[in-house]
Symmetry: C2
Subunit: 219 residues, 2 copies
DNA sequence: AATTAAATTTAGACAAATCTAAAAATAATA
DNA sequence: TATTATTTTTAGATTTGTCTAAATTTAATT
C-alpha cells in the first residue's frame, strides 16, 4: 500500500509525540500539524481503516506495528537527507529541516539505500538524532542534558533539543556545535546558569535555557 | 506564487510538447499525462487564470513567458537530479527518470543551486539532454541522428532518443553509452542497418531502429 | 453531586483534482 | 454543401483534505 504526503506527515507526528506518553491526543496532533482538531479526527478514522494505528473515540491514538514501521522509514529518510544536505552540500544545520520535510516523502527505496551507502551509513543526523537503519533499528545515544553534567567531567556535545534558527544563532556565536568538547566549571544557583570551558578558549557562562537545549556524552 | 505538483507536471508536459508544434492540443496533453481530456480542460482554465499560459476554447494552448520560466526551472531540477543519481549514487540511466519525476518538485531554490555546484555545473544529463542554467539558458547540442552520420567520420554518442528499459538493455549489451566513440563503416539499403566500429572492438551491425535512437556529434 | 470548563467528535460546506456521459464545436469526407 | 467523425468542452459526481459551528463526551471545580 502507498500513502499520501499528508498521511505520512500524520504518522510521523504521532510517532514523535508518542515517545513522551504512550498515547497521543487529538489536540496535540492538531497543534503539531498546524491544523484543526476536527481535521485530525477525520484523518484518524481514515488511518485506522488503513490499520496504521489503533484509535477509539475520545481515547487518543497509538501507532500499530505497521504504523511504527512506516514512521521509522520516514524518519530514516528525513535524517539521511539532513545529513546529506549538511555533509555533502554544505548547508547549515538550521537550514535543512524544512527541505528534509519535503525530501522525506520521495518514495524510491533504492534511492534511500544508495544515499545511505554514499554517506557511509551515518548513525546520527546533524542535530544528533539517531538515524534508523533499513530495519528500523537505531543506535541508542546515552546522552544526558548538559544541565545534569557533573563538574570537571570532559564531555562532547551530541545533540540539540530544538532546531530553531534562534538556537543556532546563539550556538554559532558561542562556537558550539555537534562534537564540541567542553566541561562544566561552575554552576550558579541564583539563575541556574553554568560556566563551561572549551579547549583553548576562555571559560564563559551560558544560561539555564541554553544548557537545557544541549545534550552531551561523557568522553 | 507557488504551484502544486500537478500544476507543475502540466506546465512541464506543455513545455515538452510545445517544442514540436507551437501550440498543444487537449488530447495530446491528456495522452502525455495519462489523464482524460475533460480533466485537461479544467486544469487549462485554472492555469490561464494564473497567467502561466494563453488558452482559448478549442484553440489549443501555449505557455506564457512566465510559464516557460517555470517549466525551465522544473526541467533544470529534473535533469540535475538525474545527473546526481547516475554520477553520484551510481544508478543506471534507465532507473533515474521516475525518481527525478518526484525530485523535480522539491521547492528549495538553495538546494538546486548547491546541488548544481556540487555536481560541477554539468551541461548535459545522463540521456544527453541539456540542463538549463539558473537563468534558463541551455547549451545547444548540435548532434545529429546516427542514421545520418557519414561513413568513416569519427563521432561521439551524445544522446538517446528514448529512455526505455528495452533500449538501455540493448545498449548495455552492445557496450554503447553516452561518450562512446564510433564510426560508421557501411550501410545496408536492404534493411537500413548500419555497420559501426568502436575502437579496440570488432565492427558490428545495428538495426535502423537502434541507429535512429542514437544521437552523435562529429569529433 | 451539580455545574462549569475543556477536549473531542459530528454535521455540513468547500476547494482541488479527477472521472463519465452528454452536448457543442471543429475537421474530414462524401 | 451536407453529413459524419473527431476533438473539445460542459454538466454533474466523486475523492481527499480541510474548515467552522454546533453537539457530545470527559475532566475539573465548586
Ligand atoms: Mn513532511
Ligand atoms: Mn534532524
Ligand atoms: Mn513530476
Ligand atoms: Mn533525462
Amino acid at each position: 500500500m502507498s500513502f499520501s504526503i499528508t498521511e505520512e506527515n500524520y504518522i510521523k507526528a504521532i510517532f514523535h509525540l508518542q515517545h513522551a506518553e504512550g498515547t497521543v491526543s487529538t489536540n496535540e496532533l492538531a497543534a503539531e500539524l498546524h491544523t484543526k482538531a476536527a481535521s485530525v479526527t477525520d484523518m484518524l478514522k481514515k488511518l485506522k481503516t488503513k490499520k496504521l494505528l489503533s484509535y477509539e473515540k475520545y481515547k487518543g491514538v497509538r501507532l500499530s506495528a505497521e504504523g511504527k514501521k512506516l514512521a521509522l522509514g520516514i524518519v530514516r529518510k528525513h535524517r539521511l537527507w539532513e545529513y546529506f544536505l549538511v555533509d555533502t552540500l554544505q548547508f547549515g544545520w538550521d537550514e535543512v529541516h524544512e527541505v528534509a520535510e519535503e525530501l522525506e516523502h520521495i518514495s524510491s527505496k533504492k534511492l534511500v539505500e544508495k544515499l545511505d551507502a554514499f554517506l557511509g551509513h551515518p548513525k546520527f543526523d546533524p542535530h544528533g538524532d539517531p538515524i534508523p537503519d533499513s530495519n528500523g533499528k537505531m543506535a541508542v545515544q546515552q546522552h544526558i542534558n548538559l544541565i545534569d553534567l557533573s563538574i570537571n567531567k570532559m564531555a562532547e556535545v551530541t545533540g540539540v533539543g530544538s532546531q530553531s534558527t534562534e538556537l543556532l544563532e546563539l550556538l554559532k556565536h558561542k562556537n558550539i556545535g555537534i562534537g564540541t568538547r567542553l566541561e562544566v566549571k561552575k554552576t550558579f544557583s541564583f539563575d541556574h546558569s553554568i560556566e563551561i570551558k572549551i579547549k583553548n578558549q576562555n571559560a564563559f557562562t551560558i544560561s539555564q535555557q541554553l544548557a537545557q537545549a544541549l545534550f552531551v556524552k561523557i568522553v
